[in-house]
Amino acid sequence: MNKKLLAASVAACLSVAALAGAPMAQAATSTLNLGVIIDVTDWQASSAQLANAGPYYQAVYSTLLNQDANANVLPGLAKSWSYDKTGTVLTLSLNKGIKYTDGEPFNAASVVANLNAFKKGASPSANMANGIVSVVAKTPTTVVITLDNIDSAFLTNLSGTMGFMQATNTIGGTDAKSNPIGAGPYIYDKASSVSGSSYVFKPNPAYYDKAHLAYDNLNIKVLNTSVAAINAIKAGQVDAVAIADNSAVAGLQAAGLTVDEQNLNWVGLTFVDKGGRMGTPLKKLAVRQAINYGFDRDAALKIMGLGYGKTIEQVFAPYNAGYDATLNNTYPYDLAKAKQMLSDAGYPNGFTLNMPTNPALASYVYDFMKDQFAKMGITINYTATTGSADFFAQVWAAKWPLYRMALQRDPNSWSLVQFLYARDAAWNPSGYGDATTDALIEKIRVATGKTQTALLKQLNTYTVQQAWFCPLYAPPVFFAHTSSVKVTTHAGNSMPFLSDFKK
């Protein structure tokens, strides 16, 4: 009897194992299985965001304009666009005959409703619409947008977060947060999806731009831990996923996966007290330049960045208009020169600077920086903040003469200027500027094309020479994919757009 029981148990176990372990059904070649490291909490276009959440919205919504992988603006739901002479009135000409997946026609009135909803919406990028004075449907296929000022990032924004178009009748509806209706390449299959785990998308038979659609179907799997993301792509459950854990890259490559690298952010020091309001030596150009010479960027990359990334001497990224490769050797590491410059500037015995620390960072980051400054004869006194929020609050309050940060580099250089260089920029806490930067920024604001690029290059060169910052390295973000998927990394976005995936 015992033997019979044992045999029956073994048979049952084997049958379950055989059933569960049966070879996985071959995925259709036209299905993209995408791993995404965050879940979607609100599907409304007015709550949309890009980066890692981008695929959710790009799947179901089309944008007014499109952008290629280099962030160049292309026609989308709007087939053409033009600005008036002032650069503040934008006219969009819409494609005819496009319908949302619920049958509602897409037209100018829908654009008006969507842009107004975005302006008041919960998207973290809602401030993109702050400059909109009015949006008017001139004809069913013509929209006129009036801005309060020239905004050279506006078209890029219409090809991104601000440009997602949701069916007008669903805007603000009770169902819109969980059941998106758009005119995108796919239709969300809520019944086949498991909220928080996997989202299934069927093809939109009426999609207006099928020629640029590589995959018929899309499955998004939520992988909200680094371990889950790595295991999922190694096990073949997803074709592609962003990798947040740098130390996993070698293992993924060894497993035969392709890992693309993009250097979106920059890490370095921001000299807040360039104006000398706090009475520190950072007011002197020679001191700021000396620190740039005296900081060993290779060592910083190796120790602070664990060897991942590239050393940099300018904030502008290679994908930014205004980037100048000749600036890359402005401050070669030369400790003796740094000390000499400090001595010449009147600090032969060094000086003391106060800096805040963020507990979110490992202590070795701050130990390394302290050591680098000590080699130059500069003593650093750290003051701990209680967390990232406290750190940001103190930095924004211009409480400290310098700080260490990792900051993004928007592909739109005007956005980068507004973010970092302008007197009212979020990351120019002391509101510092001089006549040269003020004039350049004003010219950049109204300039376009090659003229603007040349001005941006001037601003970049000037601020590098004036040592506004001490950029150290650009850390990478990684995106892993199988050989069956061809992916182009997207300028300025950690996650490729859906249109960047090809079979």
């Binding site: 049966a22 295991n231 999922a232 096990a235 609050a393």
Partner: protein
């Protein structure tokens, strides 16, 4: 038995009320801190006031607690701050996932532990030694390490099971087996050690009682003595451990759901806490407390049914 049941029920209700009250006041007592934490350091006083007004944080905390409690009793935990669905709806959806994993794990643990524990106690010898060694291993290795090992071998190398994700059994049973086998195995692994040891010890103790020898000499078969008498008497301590196992599994599921990216109550609690979604956190705390209290209530009733002496406790 009725008095015992009533006493245990009222104790459970009082405990649940205490937990909910403490949790609510700890979470809601400082509304300005809640708003500042969510809106960030750059939030102005006006932003904080607007947030408080929108989320009902400007009410007196006793009034808002009474309001919350009156709805919570009906199973309505209100609207989430960051999620699109109401808290109750999200908890119901995710609880079914967690409950499936924990219940199956518990069943597996019970069946295997009962078999191994009885065999080890009755036959001793090599079976007993194997059970002891397995017990040690089970105690020594945490379930998340077991999860990593299972994924590495059976998902990444063999591709037999899924490394991540969840498919409900009613959607696709084959996919359910693929998605559920590894997390259930990981959760069950550590539970096996303690329950097997407990059953082994209890059965061994019971076998040494005089009445067992009397029953054997009266002509009853060994199998009948074990199944009808020894197991009944050994079941009390085992049931207590089973209750503890369930609570332990509910705790362990949090990290297992993270590793396997499973949308259960554990990962929801992590998500809600990270997003500072206080109504969701409150819903999770209440639900978890209710489950633990209910399971303990059931275990108490079963213990009392098996052993009348328990009713006096």
């Amino acid at each position: 038995m009725l008095r015992f049941t009533l006493r245990r029920f009222l104790t459970g209700v009082a405990l649940l009320f205490t937990i909910c009250t403490l949790a609510y006041f700890l979470l809601y007592i400082d509304s300005d801190t809640i708003a500042a934490g969510i809106l960030g350091a750059s939030a102005t006083k006006a932003d904080i006031l607007r947030f408080n007004a929108t989320h009902g944080l400007n009410e007196n905390v006793f009034v808002s607690y009474a309001n919350w409690l009156s709805h919570a009793i009906t199973g309505n935990f209100g609207a989430a701050w960051t999620f699109t669905e109401p808290v109750s709806s999200m908890i119901t959806t995710r609880l079914s996932v967690t409950f499936t994993i924990v219940t199956i794990s518990l069943l597996i643990v019970t069946v295997i532990s009962l078999t191994l524990g009885v065999l080890a106690a009755v036959y001793g010898g090599w079976i007993d030694r194997v059970v002891q060694v397995l017990g040690l291993i089970g105690f020594a290795i945490p379930n998340f390490l077991v999860a990593f090992a299972l994924v590495a071998q059976f998902a990444v190398v063999n591709h037999w099971f899924n490394a991540v994700g969840w498919t409900p059994p009613n959607a696709d049973f084959n996919e359910f087996l693929k998605s559920a086998t590894l997390p259930i195995s990981a959760i069950a692994f550590t539970g096996l050690a303690s329950l097997t040891q407990q059953i082994r010890g209890a059965v061994k103790d019971t076998l040494q009682n005089d009445y067992v020898r009397t029953l054997r000499t009266s002509g009853l078969s060994f199998r009948r003595v074990i199944l009808k008498h020894v197991l009944r008497n050994a079941a009390g301590p085992a049931l207590s451990v089973l209750g503890l196992q369930f609570v332990g599994m509910l705790g362990g599921i949090v990290i297992i759901e993270q590793i396997f990216s499973i949308p259960g109550l554990g990962s929801f609690s992590v998500q809600a806490t990270g997003l500072k979604d206080i109504p969701s956190v409150m819903g999770v705390v209440t639900t978890m407390a209710l489950i633990v209290i209910t399971v303990n209530f059931i275990i108490d009733l079963l213990s009392a049914a098996l052993n009348p002496k328990v009713r006096l406790a």
